[in-house]
Subunit: 225 residues, 2 copies
DNA sequence: GCGTTAGTGGGCTGGAAAGCCCAAAAAACG
DNA sequence: CGTTTTTTGGGCTTTCCAGCCCACTAACGC
């Protein structure tokens, strides 16, 4: 599943070698998430992972290769998390609320931001050649929402007028933007409000289960959470 | 108007000195916007602004002071733009559409992102002490939207149920997130769709001008643009 | 078991970039 | 008109960091 058609992993890797590489990767991801790419240097990583200079050069010849590996690692994690059973493939509004609730409650949201988004924003303007990898990750991420919304429509939970692609864009953009604003403000509120509003908008297209228990003047019902 | 209670500007500045400082600032802002903070060094700035090493040290003793000044400069610009007559203080849905249309049509949106947001995301994790300044700028920015939405509500254009603060959060978050996604994808679509959806949501709360010409089953009308 | 390949250690170096210094020119100011 | 302050020039140096090298050890395969 991992590392398909991937040159940086030279095939010839002992169990021990794989373990070392994984350890470097984990510590690199953690350091980069907390301190950023630029403020993370070899020495810190060496100490954190308990390795020595030549290992970095052995497993990750350049910083670019390390950052790329970290991106792939973080992308796998965040995509796996969103595909986990916890969110039932986003086939219901509740799962969206559950998702938002998780990140609003997560302390590191307003401290370090999104594991992928903060990294992306930090290095997108540098000469590191990682744009394609990031673009791919974000597309898959958006597709998770889109597919969920499409299924909701197929299941008759969402109005036919709802545009899954557009709504998925809004959800992911509100998430990323909310994360940035929360980070800058050191306060989770911007993320909370943005996600709340975005999901309320999705709910705007909700079709009542069977007989309308809710029959007020407007078809809108942005309230429950 | 500018530089209130600001130490870095040492009062004693000749016209010539002010001109030089302004020239440095403009070129620094442009370089940083295109290449990022980290990839912009003194030499490039020296050449671009046609100045010499000691001037940088004279007007901006440290890189932090330069970045801070650029943040203030960019914040002033973006806030002034949003407060300009063009958007009539966002007292109507049309002005929101106009605003979104501008950034969707702006080429540099998907090339360099937001002048303030991309800068913020790049340096928020570094030890540069600029968070408070950024937080202040984003708060004012959000308040422009919030005030506009509040006025729309006062004027009876928006339903009383609409929450101006929350909607303003959504607009700004969708903008920032959309900018990031567009930059990564090198395609304006994510920004376009996110803003479209966010504004459609605001429109969900729109109150028809006078007599309802639209009288369909749902009170929602996310379509017209 | 022995040769070959992978893994480890730590020191080193070449380059880049921020910040500083000495001194000269220009402007302000009495 | 002379003095003081500001502005400018360009070089220099100290710091930092990514990438590299040589030597050694461990594991694997035949």
């Amino acid at each position: 599943m991992e590392a398909t058609t991937e040159a940086p992993v030279p095939q010839r890797l002992t169990n021990k070698g794989q373990a070392t590489r994984a350890r470097i990767l984990e510590h690199a991801a953690e350091l980069i998430y907390t301190k950023g790419v630029h403020a993370t240097n070899n020495e810190q990583l060496r100490r954190a992972a308990g390795i020595s200079g030549s290992q970095l050069n052995h497993y990750f010849p350049t910083k670019e290769s390390l950052v790329l590996a970290v991106i792939e690692w973080q992308a796998e994690r965040v995509l796996a998390f969103h595909r986990s059973e916890r969110f039932t493939h986003f086939e219901s509004l509740d799962s969206l609320r559950e998702w938002a609730g998780f990140y609003v409650a997560y302390e590191r949201s307003y401290q370090e931001g999104c594991t992928l988004g903060s990294l992306a924003a930090e290095i997108i303007k540098t000469d590191l050649d990682v744009r394609a990898e990031l673009a791919n990750a974000f597309e898959q991420w958006r597709n998770i929402f889109r597919d969920g919304l499409e299924r909701m429509r197929t299941l008759g939970r969402l109005d036919a007028e709802a545009d899954p692609t557009r709504l998925a864009c809004l959800l992911l953009a509100a998430f990323q933007g909310g994360m940035l604003l929360a980070q800058v403000a050191r306060d989770i509120t911007p993320l909370k409000e943005a996600l709340r509003a975005a999901i309320d908008y999705v709910q705007t297209f909700a079709v009542p289960p069977a007989a309308g228990a809710l029959d007020d003047a407007s078809g809108r019902e942005p309230g429950p959470v």
